[in-house]
Symmetry: C2
Subunit: 245 residues, 2 copies
DNA sequence: ACGTATTTGTTCGTATGTATC
DNA sequence: GGATACATACGAACAAATACG
């Protein structure tokens, strides 16, 4: 493909192994849209016969797809395509999961950085449809102020809607990943009396700034929101650490 | 998927499949440091015997690790651990590679956002050792101004060193991933006469701001650098598109 | 409620090509 | 060149879980 000059010892890419090629082909099916989310793919034996390869080789590629979160295999049922939003949560998770949970501050710091940019971009690029989505999510949260789980879910939906309005897939994917990682702590936060209503108010401020097309204020409001939210979470964690060391 | 009041089909997490557990165990070995980069791991048959499982299951997990870029298997030789920096580049690559190159602006926009934060954090947290690393990378680039490939490599090293100085693994991982993705275009950029020296000058400004512990200026200098750099790249791409449609 | 067919999960045996010494 | 070690690949077989009539 890109036959570089001279020595390329680090990239002996001509990996002409069957599984490798097969894997890329299957990834192409999934991300390309030939196989749509929720669909069932042919059985292993059938697929291996169609492709003219052994079942073992097919399983190796299939298993990799499954571990990446693109597929879901169920015994006696079949193998199904997963939703695209889930693709990217796992890989980074492994890198993070290996180390201590002392990385929570880093996690929140990273999220703050990306969500700030997203908020500013959303204020510049949000379409009427985007705004409606965000507004609907905010309303949804207002209806679940007394339900921690529902409030947390709506909270995530608001941020996801803002992320869509930013119209940058990379940032949205990265943000979605970080949101998934901090979700357990956000849920804890919403269990605190009054936390949900305060959070809702902040979300409304962010929403207002985006609606008015003010990127600077959107960034500031998002920053305020995530910093107070982060402080609350850290407080909870420290309290838990003190209670049960 | 909106309302999961009834049965939760999406999260039957008790995935107690052998390959799944094995995979996580192996990932733990790699990221945990039990298996160090460059090391050779036991042969398939030997490992399967040690672990008390069949070779097929082991191969499925091993192959997934390899496709993720954590391992490298060579016939007749053995299986080896890969360098840590490559771990996270592939997964997102597939998601991006599938679509058109129209996502390049998004890619650069995302990188700009994260590198800005990294530069500011580095100005606040860089240790003397960090500063020395960055300085060494800058010197390295000065010695390769006439060598596009070498200049590109040094360019990446500078940003990597700054990323280390930021002391946030999440952001550094994300940034490293994006750097890998834009690397081909950065190489093209360094082929332009005079581009490397201009780039070097900007890097020196960033380095100076970090050394003086000025996060605001570090952020600004990084922003300037990546925006001029991005404009150059887009110019190249457009020219290529015009030449060979 | 029960039984059967389907499908994935797992293991083993074997053959082949390749790299290293 | 020969011997050894290794990954690659295929096929067959059985177990276990699920779906469906």
């Amino acid at each position: 493909m890109r036959s570089d000059n001279g020595r390329v010892r680090l990239e002996p890419i001509p990996r002409a192994t069957l599984t490798q090629a097969l894997f890329e082909k299957l990834v192409g099916y999934v991300v390309g849209g030939d196989w749509k989310a929720g669909e069932r793919i042919p059985a292993e034996r059938e697929l291996s016969e169609q492709l003219g390869i052994g079942r073992g080789s097919l399983r190796e590629a299939l298993k990799a797809l499954e571990l990446l979160g693109m597929l879901d295999s169920r015994v006696g049922d079949g193998t199904f395509i997963c939703a695209r939003s889930e693709f990217l949560s796992r890989p980074l998770l492994w890198a993070v999961a290996s180390s201590d949970h002392s990385e929570l501050p880093e996690l929140m710091e990273a999220r703050l950085s990306i969500e700030q940019t997203i908020a500013a971009l959303a204020a510049q690029r949000a379409t009427p449809e985007d705004l409606q989505q965000i507004g609907a999510a905010v309303e949804e949260m207002r209806n679940h102020l007394d339900d921690p789980s529902g409030a947390c879910h709506a909270d995530m939906d608001i941020h996801a809607a803002i992320g869509e309005a930013a119209h940058n897939r990379i940032l949205q994917n990265a943000a979605q990943l970080l949101r998934n990682l901090v979700k357990p702590w956000v849920l804890l936060k919403h269990r605190i009396p009054g936390a949900a209503s305060m959070s809702l108010e902040q979300h409304e401020h962010i929403y207002a700034a985006i609606r008015q097309g003010d990127p600077t204020r959107a960034r500031e409001e998002m920053s305020k929101h995530l910093m107070t939210s982060g402080d609350l979470v850290l407080e909870i964690v420290n309290r838990q650490k003190a209670t049960a060391p």
